[in-house]
Symmetry: C2
Subunit: 195 residues, 2 copies
DNA sequence: AGGAGATGGTACCGATCGGTTCGATGTGAG
DNA sequence: CTCACATCGAACCGATCGGTACCATCTCCT
């Protein structure tokens, strides 16, 4: 986490460290909730270093969101694949790991969607679109392999459930059952499509 | 919309006008995307007037969100009641008006949820919680009247669908069918609960 | 040994932030 | 007519914003 004192050795290493540190703070406090000065203090880097690596605060934000999207999609995909070939088991596994995420102490919703809510401009908005599209591919794939009558429709509905559960878990879920509710709904929709 | 030049007649009238004007700009640009100076310019009021009525920018934001929550919940409730006593028709009407909302030119998601995403502090977060709770009551009521086996569960699942559709419509809905997809899912869940 | 490059720290820049104050203007109620 | 009040417009405040420049330091490579 701390950047080594003086180093000409790890240009990329430093960048990765800054990215990882900044991710957490920007998520917790919001993109506009933390200034560049405090950001540097928190990640243990100087302004010059940060600007040399990312060009601007928006550049840093973009890099953070891009990395986060990749990481999250990869994480969910792995959870699905680890559940074996059965689509029911895959959906169950997916909403279970989502539930684990929702229950983590600092959970504040989806970082990419949150960012797009805070910045109506292209970088964040575009990334959110791509992020949800990736979710959609993952979910539609499950619907197809399950033999659903309308896999594309079911995939979009599963995406709605996923995003809805994330929002509800963030803003109104006193008993922490959003993921479980969504899971049951997902399985019910799967059954209703004869799968 | 324009505030009358000089007036000792409408203390409350002015407040209502400011509230209505500010609502649109804060929604379009985000709570932190517009400063108080520009806000005043846009609503056609001076800083002094604004601060006398609302005390602070956060005070204005809180008043705006409170009014918006009341208005939206009342609007959805009316749409449901206007659909007659049949729960299927009520759900259909609800997601249809949501679809109309999603298709409006300046649609940017739910203002209250967006605000809570931008401000992690009590005023906005609390209002979002209450806002979703109100949605939940409306939806659970439909589930009960439909004779669902588990109306509370179904109500929560319908809330997930509503919020999910709103997020998807905002960030990734190239063909504008989020509301329709959610509606079909809602009716399917209703049927699956024997209602 | 020495040069090149990455870094931390700090001072600094203009712009904007939320918020306050003041005077001028116009309105309504007495 | 007069007084109280609401309002506008603008000046002003300290703080913070994103971003730049400079320099001493440290590590690696030659």
């Amino acid at each position: 986490m701390p950047v080594p004192k003086g180093t000409a050795l790890d240009p990329d290493r430093t960048r990765a460290t800054l990215l990882a540190s900044a991710t957490g703070i920007l998520y917790e406090r919001g993109l506009d909730g933390v200034g560049v000065a405090e950001l540097c203090r928190a990640v243990g880097a100087s302004k010059e270093t940060l600007y040399r690596h990312f060009g601007s605060k928006d550049g840093l934000v973009e890099a953070v969101l891009e990395a986060r999207s990749d990481r999250v999609v990869h994480w969910l995909t792995e959870a699905v694949e680890a559940a074996g070939p059965d689509p029911h088991a895959q959906l169950t596994a997916l909403f279970d790991v989502l539930g684990d995420w929702y229950r983590q102490p600092g959970f504040r919703g989806c970082a990419i969607v949150n960012a797009a809510t805070q910045r109506h401009a292209p970088p964040a908005r575009t990334l959110a679109d791509r992020h949800l599209a990736r979710y959609g591919e993952l979910l539609t794939g499950i619907a197809e392999r399950a033999g659903a009558r309308e896999p594309a429709l079911l995939g979009r509905q599963l995406l709605i459930l996923l995003e809805g559960a994330t929002v509800v878990a963030d803003h109104h879920d006193p008993h922490g059952r959003a993921a479980e509710d969504a899971k049951q709904a997902a399985l019910a929709l799967l059954s209703a499509q004869g799968a």
